[in-house]
Symmetry: C3
Subunit: 341 residues, 3 copies
């Protein structure tokens, strides 16, 4: 593509030769001589010294950081522009639908149109599969599981019995949906397993990362709301409810029966204990441990998590403690002086 | 079922019409008009306002929170009662034993009676399987692995060579038993892998969560004691020993050669470094990092973990620091006043 | 083996009867009467009281802790000695190469010599496999993936399309290589998935633990350098680069586009946020959260991570706060006394 055509595709302002040809796109600091480099974060500036790319796709905010005559396409919203460009450079692959002859299909399984089922997939009795679904190799769907239209399961996904997976869902390899929650009770001094009879319900447009686990409900369902995005290696316990469009980063754990609101952000390695309520739009900073309810819109951090400003103040105070100690020492000295007068 | 028959099954006191019919059971706040709602935790009270269930199964402790004429079954121990009721509502499914024709069975594999092996399971040479065992689809059992009676492996479990799995064990999808521990040594400035030649030994009555990893021993075995329950995404390193009936919540990591006592509780996302001894009955609060031995019966928290009371005191002191600072300021003022007199 | 021959194999000094026969080796405290016990860490001393082994393989440093007449082999470097001995006791198993008849092989797949492919493995179109590679049962290799010589994939590994895996790599069960990174962008108020078009590139001599996830690059590649060792349940996000010979312990998370230097150590459950630079030889203490760049050679700890000494000082100050409070109380008393005089 030429710089000019890129500018047109992404709706950007072109600086330099419109006919300059670029062979591909790469992150700033990694682009080769013939490529256009993508620059949208100030933290990448340190990586571009001595880099030799043909041009930049750059945010308006960072344009001034480049040498004035650098060939470039300038956009206000760089990530949407990048997305548009990548869809141009890398069109989605075509798939021929079909059920691989090695797939094991149970009794009463129902398929929509244009379904693709990979080698060695196992669909147990009464599974229902919507139109245009892709089921990866080796995936196992428990009896009674229902999958909506256009959903894609990558290889090695397991859904236990009676899961409900919506439309336009993406589930990555190794995700486990609907396994038993961690529930036991003492009877006569002996620990017994609580039956886990609820379902695991995944809303439309959800994406679930690799090796993430979402348990079925114990009594009642575990429910992941519409448009929620969950990263890799996340644990969602039984009877948790996650509101629409929330984002959950990697290695997060949410304990049993907690309710996460809509548009919540849980940073990587954050944890939320059981039976809490996290309000809409709340944000939990990375690696924080939430042990109380969080009101809507609040940002919390720390261990245990507190309102973020309060946590920062506590951190700062701890940093100034040596200063406070010196003030006390000075007072003690003056006191000794006064007392001995 | 009627309220009266539920009362009888769970041994509870019935308040209201004995003949009231309920169509199912659900958590408080989620039950429909015809269902009985389960209420055992004060934190659920906020969820029941405006809820429309037919009746409650409620703990004696919380009975007074309901309107006086609410139809209900009252029990002292609500979770055992719920368990009894669920076993009634959801009897265990019947399985027809048998070895799926696609299972790959190695040389010298020995089966007990009534074994069920799912599609595409792979049992390598000399595997031994006890009576009434269920092996899920796609599970892979390494050479020489031994499985006790009535144990159930869900689909996609992997056990490496020479694992020993007891009776009445449940292993969820994606659990990896007996992978190599993380062990290397420097020889002539180069890092080399230590052979990992111990076994992974799982006691009777253990439950292992989805995508949990329990490494084999390096030299000597990794041993999970009788009745231990392990949640999802837990890492148990080589040569760890976990004592009987301990509970390990999700995303916990236990590093190499550490010994966990009996009846220990490790909260979610807790970590324990290598070569420690955690005494019987110890409790580690969620997301704490244990870097020293913990005596029997102690509760620890924080990062690094300390006795829980000490940790709470430290947290509280930090909270009162601004108060201390104001007291120092006042002293300084008075001192100035005194000195200038 | 005799004590004398063990001494010869490991190049150690023998104390006691050269002809003493030992039947095997076990960790100190677990060795049986006829075995040689391995003792290399002071923390194991508490475990050997009353233990009944035939002899010790012991570090020179700990020799004095044994009774003077204990039969033993003494070495300066115990772990390399153990490694040599284990290779003697447990020679590597022989494998007959071959492609299992149930493996599904796509178009244009190319194999080197002496390759072994397990049951139900799926190799999609254009996969390339080097000499002496072992591919475990059920592994799925996406289209265009390339695997170098002598690499071993244990059962249930998934590599998405276009992964590049080097020579002498070991990948444990359940590892997911090249899944999509966690990347979204808002367009007109709606969240859209960013195409993830980079690759996942694994260098020579890398070992990857069970159920670990290493995402493909979004734009540009995710790159794991030569000789890096990664433990179980680790998350490496899109576009991360890990320098040669770094070590990453279990349950670590590294967020997008961060660059880890060479010979870096990330302790278990540590986290590193996105777009950082961690210098060569840096060390991150267990369960720390890195939120800023770390200079080469620095050790950091805490939440957020700080230089380790500073973190220790802060911890210590917090411990001495009650002392400071008492000093302030004493000053207040004296002040009252002075003022009332």
């Amino acid at each position: 593509m030429t710089l000019g055509s890129i500018g047109e595709v992404v709706g950007g302002r072109v600086v330099g030769d419109q006919d300059l040809e670029v062979s591909g796109i790469a992150p700033a600091g990694e682009a080769g001589e013939a490529q256009i480099a993508f620059l949208a974060s100030r933290r990448y500036l340190r990586r571009i010294a001595g880099s030799q790319c043909a041009a930049y796709l750059v945010s308006a905010e960072l344009e001034a950081e480049l040498a004035p005559d650098t060939p470039r396409v300038v956009v206000d919203a760089p990530y949407p522009a990048l997305r548009t460009l990548l869809q141009q450079f890398f069109p989605a692959e075509e798939r021929t639908p079909g059920i691989h002859p090695t797939a094991v299909i149970g009794h009463g399984v129902r398929f929509g149109s244009r379904v693709s089922v990979g080698p060695y997939a196992v669909l147990q009795d009464r599974v229902q599969v919507g139109d245009d679904v892709i089921i990866g190799a080796h995936s196992v769907l428990g009896a009674g599981t229902v999958i909506g239209a256009r959903t894609r399961l990558y290889p090695h996904v397991v859904a236990y019995d009676d899961c409900v997976i919506g439309d336009d869902v993406i589930v990555h390899s190794g995700a486990r949906l609907g396994a038993d929650g961690f529930g036991y009770t003492q009877v006569d001094g002996e620990r017994h397993k609580m039956p886990q009879v609820g379902r695991c319900v995944i809303g439309d447009g959800v994406e679930i990362g690799a090796n993430t686990t979402i348990d079925r409900g114990s009594l009642g369902d575990t429910v992941i709301g519409e448009g929620v995005k969950i990263d890799n290696l996340v644990q969602i316990a039984h009877n948790v409810r996650v509101g629409a469009r929330s984002l959950i980063a990697a290695l997060v754990g949410v304990a049993g029966s907690t309710r996460i609101g809509k548009n919540v952000w849980l940073g990587g390695q954050a944890g939320v204990i059981n039976q809490l309520e996290i309000g809409d739009g709340a944000r939990v900073v990375v690696a924080s441990t939430v042990m109380r309810d969080v009101p809507a819109g609040e940002t919390v951090s720390g261990h245990p998590a507190r309102p973020h400003r309060e946590d920062l103040r506590r951190q700062a105070r701890l940093g100034r403690l040596s200063h406070l100690k010196r003030r006390v020492e000075r007072l003690e000295e003056e006191m000794r002086r006064l007392s001995s007068e």
